[in-house]
Symmetry: C2
Subunit: 384 residues, 2 copies
């Protein structure tokens, strides 16, 4: 298995892109990544996407996007792991390049969700959960997370307002990210007064959907060419699963697939939580930020909110999270999110995160979650 | 890259499985494959599926099926490449095992299509085509293939009845396959009188959809254990793409992705068309059988039907195709089809194809097509 580097990056703003189709969005990110890499082609294309069949009436995205970006003929495929599709596509591309099956790969996460909002989008997102045992009972995806959050508050004695710092941090960081969906700072009082979505999750606990695409170009580290950027390699890649249905887990408040994929990733990279300078976690809901921090060893079980309350999650904190806004404020175009996380971690490790730069960031981690904890991928990147 | 063998096989009959959900079907094939391999687990699971989001309201199939088969926690993901999803999942599993990223993998193709028939299924299948430039114009998937077939008949001077031997051969071979969807021999007169679907494609040119799952277990060849079966290895694996929209191709009658993936596969395996003892091709429509034979070097351009008319495609012919019924009569549960092809080729190479056994079969090829030629995967298997 060869070491693999991320040579190029590209992303579109996350927004309601009424004038751009799915392939146009993907193409913008791919072209930007190829330009950034100083390349004009690659051997393969891996597309992370969850909802294109249901919301855009389009499958076969691998061939579609390969053709659109002028690379008709190359190997191409779509990878799906619900909201973890982006990182799952990265892992597939990584294995292909590190194995020698190909010498370069483009990985793009893309999702176009805002053309069909309302019940149709809610129903499509519920396919990340167990259709027979959760969605068929009327549980939307936010409702499942609301049950988890309510139970967590009950078990560990937290109040709803204790989660406010997660959302405040994310919104503050998004102000410096031109690609973020939301650009409004929020206060504790805004958080406490936000409209209820599914009790106890209110509008400021929940990430906004959106349209967007983010891409990288992968090459073997020993075949890098200079492109003006510091070298960033993939030091670890791991994936693990859990039951889709939350009620079927031994402990509904423990993300075992996060813990397992993080354990493997730490081992591969030879690091521990104390070595992570930046952590882009999957804060689709504020409760998920807390659970991820605990599963990955940054906080004791039940103590995730304390990290935020004690101000350890900011750009100068012990574990900076959501440094470009996170899912909460950068936005959550579901199948693309995992690739936004990767692009953002590379920006940090390149020292190119602008107003959001974490000082001396050398090792970054990204964790992408499909379903309410069912498929979880953890990647660790390193500035060489 | 390590050599990889197919140690275990499993499949369900293709039928209207009203009493079995998607995960139950997948589980039956996976359990059968693990039993056949004399294993009770694997490091990873790769699921080939196209339509689960649209037709079964279920995504995140990797984690779902891993959990259902008792392997909660292992790495798992879904691969989508329209009707080529099955072979695309095989290729992903193959790269993971051959690279050393894992030491064993289960690959399962699964599709459950008959709960929601009629316009909804037709619309879902159309997502394999170009949503903006084909489906949005009202073209169903069968209509696209009808345009190709009409043009082919015009260019090369074939009559509709010249395609009859493809369907007659497939139906005859399905009689010996207990897992086939259709078990009725057909005559030339049946073929000529069949109801029209989309002129010139009639009911006996078109493959039936269905519910089903087929699975294999992959292990490195140097770590095989005896399980009572002859050893079958994957000698070649290749994938290529083309435009989704047929009108956008230089020649709408030439499957360039079939030719390219076959060329790469022949090169990897060090063989040519003359060495292939069994060829499971993607006869979703009879015209596709002709085009595949041409693109893979078994017939001159425009001369595919001649192979069939001159009786070279039967079990004792020069290039036996659809040996267990093909898509036409074994059935076409779209995301599972590529894995049925692989299972059938392995059965032939094991000498376990019963009434359909091709004598002295040592090298077999399977070709799986996503869309009307957009994503094409070619695998060559070898009896060691």
């Amino acid at each position: 298995m060869r070491s693999v580097a991320i040579l190029g990056l590209g992303q579109t703003p996350i927004a309601e892109h009424w004038e751009k189709s799915l392939r146009v969005l993907a193409g913008e990110a791919v072209f930007a990544a190829l330009n950034d890499a100083h390349l004009d082609n690659a051997d393969g294309l891996f597309v992370g996407n969850m909802l294109s069949g249901m919301l855009n009436r389009q499958e076969n995205l691998g061939a579609l996007i390969a053709d659109w970006v002028g690379l008709r003929g190359i190997e191409a495929v779509k990878i799906e792991a619900a909201c973890g599709s982006g990182a799952a596509a990265l892992r597939a591309g990584l294995i292909a390049v590190s194995s020698g099956a190909m010498d370069s790969a483009i990985v793009v996460g893309v999702e176009k969700m805002t053309e069909t909002v309302g019940p149709q989008t809610t129903a499509a997102l519920a396919t990340a959960a167990d259709a027979d045992w959760e969605a068929a009972q009327g549980l939307s995806f936010v409702a499942i997370n609301a049950l988890i959050m309510r139970r967590y508050m009950h078990e560990y004695g937290w109040k709803h307002s204790d989660f406010a710092p997660f959302s405040i941090n994310a919104h503050a960081n998004a102000l410096g990210n031109p690609n973020a969906r939301l650009h409004d700072a929020i206060s504790t009082s805004d958080y406490n007064r936000a409209r209820m979505v599914a009790d106890p999750i209110n509008l400021l606990d929940a990430s906004p959907i959106g349209d967007g695409a983010a891409a990288v170009v992968l090459v073997p580290t020993d075949r890098l060419h200079p492109n003006g950027h510091p070298i960033v390699t993939i030091a670890a890649s791991a994936s693990a699963t859990d039951s889709l249905a939350v009620h079927d887990r031994r402990d509904p408040l423990w993300l075992s697939a996060a813990a397992e994929s993080a354990r493997k990733a730490y081992q591969q990279a030879g690091v521990g939580p104390q070595d992570i300078d930046v952590f882009e976690l999957h804060d689709a809901f504020s409760i998920m930020a807390a659970l991820s921090l605990e599963a990955c060893g940054f906080a004791e079980r039940g103590q995730g909110p304390r990290l935020a309350l004690e101000n350890h999650i900011g750009l100068a904190g012990r574990v900076p999270i959501a440094t470009r806004g996170g899912l909460k404020a950068r936005g959550h175009p579901v199948g693309a999110t995992g690739m936004y996380q990767i692009v953002e971690v590379v920006e940090q490790l390149r020292g190119a995160a602008g107003a959001n730069q974490v000082a001396e960031a050398k090792i970054g981690m990204a964790q992408n979650i499909g379903g309410s904890g069912a498929t979880i991928l953890t990647h660790i990147l390193r500035a060489e």
